[in-house]
């Protein structure tokens, strides 16, 4: 048991770093995911992760393999896609999801074009996009912890307006809750969380740790706050288990963690106390009142 669960972390420094990084990510990203689900924006995180690509590629082309440069490039590109889509759809009256799709396809095309101009980018860039547990160095760990701390602080301050803006936007506007401004801050946090997961999980897999626990949490709680706690719990479980699986079975970390999170989601759908399928199959008799 000790060999299976504890020893890998005791023995290998890089695994310990990855564990700390993933746990930091697990307390912040899934909470954002819960709000994305509630706003019917489940696919937005994915779009933002792809949208960050040309920024990363351009930074790679200009600055080489320098982590801060890559983060900065990804952050700027991701924010441009997120904020640009919101602003453009408000100004032109279009649907935000449609504008978002247009911008992200554009960004993806630009990203691939820039990478091919730069000579393919090589293994390092693949690591950035798909993640490698060996990539979690000190700056990456600091970034992950910093982003998680910032995210939790902002969520604590903005909880009330964020909930109000999701539930009843016109009431929020009528009482001057600045829902729109909080939504922008919220989107910035989503981009930051995706970027900070670059090294450990890769941008694309980071979205999995943000969304899968959030989607599963619906089957464990009936209120937003309960869903947030459930999502964090699921993410922590998926991170620890995923890292161990990745070590023992020799699968990359990102997919391992995402697959475990996906498995927990499947279990939640089946036996979760809220709207789980098992409850339907039990066909218990109805109550008297």
């Amino acid at each position: 048991m000790h060999d299976l669960l504890i020893a890998p972390f005791v023995e290998f420094g890089f695994l310990r770093r990855a564990l700390v990084g993933c746990l930091a990510l697990s307390v912040s990203a899934p909470v954002l995911g819960v709000f994305l689900v509630l706003r019917r924006m489940s696919l937005t995180a994915d779009v933002l992760a792809h949208g960050a690509m040309p920024g990363v590629a351009l930074a790679f082309l200009l600055a080489g393999f320098s982590a801060p440069a890559l983060w900065f490039g990804g952050l700027v590109a991701g924010l441009l896609v997120a904020v640009g889509a919101g602003a453009l759809s408000r100004a032109t009256g279009g649907r935000e999801d449609a504008t978002l799709a247009a911008l992200y396809l554009l960004a993806l095309g630009a990203g691939v074009a820039i990478i091919s101009i730069g000579g393919g980018g090589g293994v390092d860039l693949a690591h950035i996009l798909f993640g490698s547990v060996l990539g979690v160095d000190d700056p990456a760990l600091l970034l992950m912890a910093g982003v998680a701390t910032l995210t939790l602080a902002v969520l604590a301050l903005g909880w009330r307006p964020l909930v109000l803006e999701c539930f009843d936007p016109s009431f929020a506007a009528a009482v001057g809750a600045r829902g729109g401004a909080w939504h922008l801050v919220f989107q910035a946090l989503v981009v930051l969380n995706v970027i900070s997961a670059f090294q450990a999980l890769g941008t694309l897999m980071a979205v999995g740790l943000m969304m899968l626990p959030a989607i599963a949490s619906r089957h464990w709680a009936r209120q937003v706050s309960g869903m947030a706690y459930a999502a964090v719990g699921i993410a922590v479980l998926a991170s620890v288990t995923g890292l161990l699986v990745s070590y023992h079975v020799d699968v990359p970390t990102g997919p391992a963690i995402v697959l475990i999170a996906g498995g927990i989601w499947a279990v939640s759908v089946l036996v979760g106390p809220v709207d789980g399928l098992a409850h339907r199959l039990l066909r218990r008799r109805h109550l008297a009142g």
Partner: protein
């Protein structure tokens, strides 16, 4: 739950509200007197909801002005359809949202605030619903819940958008009783309604609107057969040949 009233009205001067370049409310002038109880009636697409949203500060006038007497607190009851009723939130938390004007985003609610919210739930006939998720409520119960939030909000001017739609007779009677109470307390109430019998029975003032104000005044004088016919004649379709409006601003 009643603080000292600050009787407040709203004056419209040559108000025009547009969606794009198309007018939804066209050169309307008049006064919602302090403490008045006014029904806003008119055909679909007549600009009623747009007017209410503008009164609440949510829609910027294209031209003309909306002026409040003093600094009144305004509360808006949006149409039920504007709400995300699948959102996972408990009834008591929805009612507590009415405290926003006092607490804002950051201040904590006191035990008194909580008690006030619980009282408001009881006042709309939803005692025992504190922990129920909103998604489990019927349309009528949801409307009762939103009235509880209005009670907690304790505003001077109340704007109600189709408050009795999709609501059964008993619920609308209960909610109407609250509206009468608000009127009795000297609050200014403006309600968008479709049931003209109800308007004739309960609302002293009426604004009959079909983009232009057809009539605005005591209900009996506003809702004459002639005026109602005029409102019904409003062309709902846009004219592609519509020219630029040259009415003096």
């Amino acid at each position: 739950m009643t603080s000292t009233r600050n009787p407040a009205g709203i004056r419209l001067v040559d108000l025009t509200l547009t969606h794009g370049r198309r007018p939804a409310v066209h050169h309307v002038s008049g006064h919602f007197a302090p403490g008045s109880l006014t029904a806003v009636v008119g055909p679909n697409g007549a600009g009623k909801t747009t007017l209410l949203r503008a009164l609440a500060g949510l829609h910027k006038p294209e031209s003309g002005t909306i002026a409040q007497d003093g600094t009144a607190r305004i509360a808006l009851l949006p149409q039920l359809a504007a709400l995300d009723r699948a959102f996972p939130i408990a009834c008591l938390d929805v009612v507590m949202q009415g405290l926003w004007p006092r607490l804002g985003a950051f201040r904590a609610a006191s035990t008194q605030d909580r008690a006030r919210a619980t009282q408001a739930l009881a006042a709309v006939g939803l005692d025992g619903f504190e922990k129920r998720p909103v998604g489990s409520l019927s349309a009528g119960q949801t409307q009762r819940l939103l009235f509880a939030r209005l009670l907690v909000q304790d505003a001077d001017i109340l704007l109600l958008d189709e408050p009795f739609n999709a609501v059964d007779a008993r619920t609308s009677a209960d909610l109407l009783r609250l509206v009468r109470e608000w009127h009795g307390q000297g609050r200014t109430v403006v309600a968008v309604l479709h049931d003209l019998d109800l308007v004739a029975r309960e609302f002293p003032e009426t604004l009959l609107i079909a983009r232009d104000a057809i009539a605005w005044g005591p209900t009996a004088q506003a809702l004459t057969a002639g005026n109602r016919l005029k409102a019904r004649m409003m062309a709902e379709a846009w004219s592609d040949e519509a020219e630029v409006c040259d009415r003096a601003a």
